[in-house]
Amino acid sequence: MFANTWTMILDWFRDNSERGKLVRDFNAAAQESFIMGTAPTLIKASISKGEKSYHHQFSNWLNTGLRIQAFKGTQLSKSDLTQIGNVVLSDAVLMRRLVVLGFDTLEVCCDGGDYGCRWQIKDFMQIEG
């Protein structure tokens, strides 16, 4: 029992570190694209609370959402937000990693974070890879 608990604690710390790394890598790529001029809008990923009803078998205890914020200054249209979400959801490798790291919600929103879209990651798992 103790060994299992110990392993769980270690896994939790390891997963948290991997989650942080994933978010940092995403932000670094977004920042580079924005600076190089290939991306017209700066996007930033962060870990959010997530939606309780979206939980799945691999879900983390807390903070199960991946929030992507688009900093454009003006309000992005719904189609722009859904496009960003669809690109993330259509990447099978990223989706698998998100599931394994305990994410269950993907949120895409504007600067303020008050308007956006939300997806249940479980619905977009691509089993065949």
């Binding site: 496009q83 993330v88 698998r96 394994v100």
Partner: protein
């Protein structure tokens, strides 16, 4: 590990010194002594756990290891978010099989490329590869 044992021995000796000191009464309840004993207990438990073979769910661990070994192309994801729609719209028109009604071979190639375009509509890198393929195989000009 060595540091842990040194720490352990220092703590043990401090506790023993405290009890051996004639000025201190042996069974006097001192908060610091209790804390030291508790710390010692925690260290012993952690050492015991550390030396035990961890029980892990092999299936989940293997799955996690496999998934973590894959590399995620974040640059492509970020660029796809802004540029894939335009390229997709361009390709779906230029490579539509209906543009090659007379040549059966070209029509089959166009159909295959068109299906790939529809499948990878959110992947800029794949769309660029398909664009190159369309230029080479279908002689499409962009």
């Amino acid at each position: 590990m060595d540091d842990l044992f040194i720490d352990l021995s220092v703590r043990l000796s401090s506790i023993l010194k405290h009890f051996m000191n004639p000025a201190s009464r042996l069974w006097e309840v001192n908060a610091w002594t209790v804390i030291a004993v508790l710390e010692l207990a925690v260290i012993i438990v952690l050492l015991a756990l550390h030396n035990r073979k961890p029980v892990v769910n092999n299936k989940n661990a293997e799955l996690k290891k496999k998934v973590m070994a894959e590399t995620v192309d974040f640059d492509n994801i970020v660029n796809s978010a802004f540029h894939s729609v335009d390229l997709y719209n361009q390709l779906k028109v230029k490579c539509h099989p209906d543009r090659f009604p007379d040549d059966a071979e070209m029509n089959a190639k166009a159909l295959e490329i068109f299906q790939q375009i529809a499948k990878n509509k959110n992947n800029l890198k794949k769309l660029e590869e398909l664009k190159q393929r369309a230029i080479n195989e279908l002689n499409v000009k962009f």
